[in-house]
């Protein structure tokens, strides 16, 4: 029994403290319940207590509802006695007695009775009553058929089911079952267990049909808890690991330790400013390019170390953009207003050099089927090429400016380019449709999210804008804090489920924001020159690469040493799941 006084009159509203469940004595609640007429039960399926009583500090949780879903949870878990005891002690019944009767009749197979009871529950919506009746009578029909009582089944169909005048297609199917008995899919044998199981399934279906105030959905409490966990995970600003264990005891809050923040390697192969880098789709390679006109393919070993695989000489101009083929077997590189080259990743040899007389290439990209290539050209047009070097199509006009980014959506249908200084073009090349994103400032670069639903745009006014490009185009978020007013810097999506945004900065640091909250999570120091480009490993959320004017590439990762020591490297307070 709860610790609250039981002497008080039942009408007195008692604010519930944790532990106690209502201040009513047992006897009173039963008497009140019995005296409630059927109409009361219909209006609010529960007797006694002010139905507005609330629990919790926010005043939004109704006590009656809370107790009902707890009772349902107990029954679902198999604690029938406890459930019944709760109903008794609180004076709050899980279901009204009419509904209880209804449910029992379904389980007992008393079909005609259950349909009659259905009408007494007090549902407002005629359509629902009909649907529910239909479903119940269907069960009756099949059980009769199964028991070889064909004429009875036919009678049910004719006199009870068809007159409902709903779902004529199903009625037609039922007729077929009578004539072709072998088609009977339900197959409820006279085996009692199978029959009960089938009836339980019917009950579940009815629970979904009838409003939830009448019959509470099964496992509602667990569903609410799962919802809360989802929300916690979304709100977790440092969430970057697949967390198997989320505890119910405290709010989920990751520590910063799973976000790459330690320099694990410094790669010094380039002889000049490193302008661009990108991981392959499978995360096994990294390609980088420099103003020394060299392109390098790096290999990411199993232990996470990055080592040189191939040097790709040949370009006469610095390579401003690199594109991995969808299968990561080939690489496209584009020299600034120069030629476009296609390389084999395994051998490092140049497979083809694309040239257009009198013109230079600006950007390059693969079609998702790996058979065609798109490129932006200095005359502001976009071309499509096949692997044999033939120009398949060319779209002229103001399609692209000097910006070297080229985006291709996952379905291969839209090309994304910066067509004017402050405008991005989404070009449906087959349908010739055009959508524009207008910015107020000069656009420097952009990146497309993996699901092709979002576009990250870096601007010269030191802001990064996140746009939703699926359906109606709208600005979703802005990220600030870094320095960007002169150079070409690139930003990217990254981390688990692409939950983070990373960007280079003119102050030599790497900036990382949490995408949903917009909060700046980390600034990583180490480089001694502007950070031009960042790339987050798509298959390893703990690996980030940055390219800098200091001629180096840095590989960032998490501190693999245990959390206890190395305070030099820690960037903040450590939170573990469960503590604050």
């Amino acid at each position: 029994m709860g610790g609250v006084e039981d002497d008080g009159p039942p009408s007195k509203r008692v604010k519930v403290s944790s532990g106690a469940l209502g201040g009513l004595s047992k006897g009173t609640s039963h008497r009140e319940q019995a005296s409630c007429s059927l109409s009361d039960l219909m209006a609010q399926p529960l007797a006694s207590q002010g139905k507005d009583e609330v629990v919790g500090s926010k005043g939004v949780v109704k006590k009656v509802e809370l107790v009902r879903i707890i009772a349902e949870a107990l029954y679902s878990l198999g604690y029938k006695n406890t459930g019944a005891h709760l109903e008794e002690e609180s004076g709050i019944t899980l279901q009204s007695s009419v509904v209880n009767l209804f449910m029992q009749q379904i389980l007992d197979g008393k079909w005609d009775d259950s349909v009659a009871t259905l009408h007494k529950i007090g549902l407002m919506d005629e359509a629902i009553i009909k649907l529910a009746s239909f479903v119940i009578l269907e069960q009756k029909f099949f059980e009769l058929l199964d028991g070889e009582k064909v004429m009875d089944a036919l009678k049910t169909l004719r006199t009870e089911i068809a007159p409902l005048c709903i779902n004529n297609d199903r009625v037609r199917e039922l007729s077929s079952y009578i004539v072709f008995p072998s088609q009977n899919v339900l197959d409820i044998s006279s085996d009692k267990e199978a029959r009960l199981k089938s009836r339980k399934k019917l009950l579940e279906e009815l629970q979904k049909l009838l409003p939830s105030t009448v019959i509470i959905p099964e496992r509602r409490l667990v569903h609410l808890v799962e919802q809360a966990l989802d929300l916690q995970r979304d709100a977790c600003r440092f969430h970057n690991s697949s967390v198997g264990e989320m505890s119910l005891f405290t709010d989920h809050q990751c520590g910063k330790d799973k976000i790459p923040s330690q320099t694990l390697q410094i790669l010094k192969e380039h002889g000049d400013e490193v302008w661009f880098l990108q991981f392959s789709h499978n995360g096994k390679y990294l390609a980088s390019s420099s103003s020394d006109c060299l392109v390098i393919i790096w290999e990411v070993k199993l232990d996470g170390r990055v080592s040189l695989k191939h040097r790709l000489p040949g370009h006469q101009k610095p390579v401003s953009y690199i594109s991995w083929s969808p299968d990561d077997a080939q690489l496209l590189t584009c020299g600034v207003e120069e030629a476009m080259r296609r390389w084999d990743v395994t051998s490092g040899e140049c497979l083809y050099i694309y040239e257009k007389s009198g013109l230079g290439f600006i950007s390059c990209g693969w079609a998702p089927d790996g058979k065609r290539i798109f490129s932006g050209v200095t005359d502001k047009s976009i071309s499509m090429w096949d692997l044999d070097g033939r120009e398949v199509e060319c779209w002229k006009g103001q399609r692209t400016s000097r910006i070297s980014d080229l985006g291709i959506t996952r379905d291969g249908k839209q090309l994304i380019t910066v067509c004017k200084e402050t405008t991005i073009l989404l070009f449906g090349w087959e349908s010739q449709s055009e959508k524009l994103i207008e910015e107020g400032q000069n656009i420097v670069s952009f990146a497309l999210s993996e699901d092709s639903k979002f576009l990250l745009v870096s601007l010269l006014n030191q802001e990064i804008h996140l746009w939703n490009i699926e359906g109606a185009i709208k600005l979703v978020a802005k990220f600030k804090g870094h320095k960007h007013s002169r150079f070409v810097l690139k930003s990217c999506f990254g981390g688990l489920d692409q939950a983070f945004i990373a960007s280079g900065s003119e102050d030599s640091q790497v900036y990382i924001w949490h995408r949903i909250s917009g909060e700046l999570v980390f600034t990583l120091s180490g480089h001694s020159g502007a950070v031009n480009c960042v790339s987050w490993n798509p298959t390893n959320p703990h690996m980030l690469a940055s390219a800098s004017d200091d001629h180096t590439i840095r590989i960032w990762g998490i501190n693999r040493v245990s959390l206890d020591h190395d305070d030099r490297h820690s960037n903040g307070i450590h939170y573990c799941n469960g503590g604050t």
Binding site: M151, L154, T159, I161, A162, V171, S175, S176, I178, V179
Partner: protein, 215 residues
């Protein structure tokens, strides 16, 4: 553009041709009484042994029209043996007529039994399955005339079956399946429609047989 009626006047029409046209119509539709009067009045030659056939055809046609499919089937076995085995669609249609009759007279037991023994074997072939389901659905309704499948119990449907029956029998007897006058009307209509389409692009109405017959 309409053909100037004066042009038509110049086309000669043979009396004998007209008599034959009328006769063929009467024979085709089994109007035995009328046919006899006509022959008596005009002296046209009576078609050989068509009389007996006409009577039989007439009885079969009317049985089907009444929905008495079993009778129709019996007569057909007698008159055109083997035809139903060859023409399964027709057989199915006739059997379904009987089924409909049973359902309409609320003899559900019988209907169900009949369906299971006679109709379900057709279900082995895919093209009959949907039709079969349509008919079986009739079982579910106490008032089939008001069910979604009401067209199956209608006179129009029986007419349709009876007509197909007639055409099959005529074909079997190597007689034309349409009477001459029907074919003439069909021809004229088609030709007229083509002409009015060709020349009538500036808003002329399409050819209407009804209007023509009234004019």
């Amino acid at each position: 553009m309409d053909i100037d009626p004066r042009i038509c006047v110049n086309v000669a029409v043979n009396d004998e041709d007209v008599h034959n046209i009328v006769l063929s119509y009467l024979v085709h539709n089994c109007f035995t009484g009328t046919m006899e009067s006509f022959i008596a009045c005009t002296g046209v030659k009576q078609p050989a042994d068509h009389l007996v056939d006409m009577e039989k055809r007439k009885r079969i046609f009317h049985s089907a029209l009444d929905g008495n499919a079993l009778k129709a089937i019996e007569l057909m076995e007698e008159f055109t043996p083997g035809l139903l085995e060859k023409n399964k669609d027709l057989h199915f249609d006739l059997l379904s007529l009987h089924f409909v009759r049973l359902v309409c007279s609320r003899r559900c037991n019988e209907a169900l039994g009949f369906a299971r023994t006679k109709l379900t074997p057709f279900g082995k072939e895919q093209r009959y399955v949907e039709k079969l389901e349509d008919f079986m659905a009739l079982l579910a309704y106490e008032e089939p005339e008001k069910s979604p499948m009401f067209h199956l119990v209608s006179l129009e449907y029986r007419q349709h079956v009876a007509d197909s029956l007639m055409r099959a029998i005529l074909e079997h007897a190597n007689l034309p399946s349409y009477s001459i006058v029907e074919r003439l009307i069909q021809q004229a209509t088609v030709v007229r429609q083509c002409l009015s389409q060709e020349f009538g692009k500036d808003g002329h109405q399409p050819f209407s047989l009804k209007d023509f017959l009234k004019s």
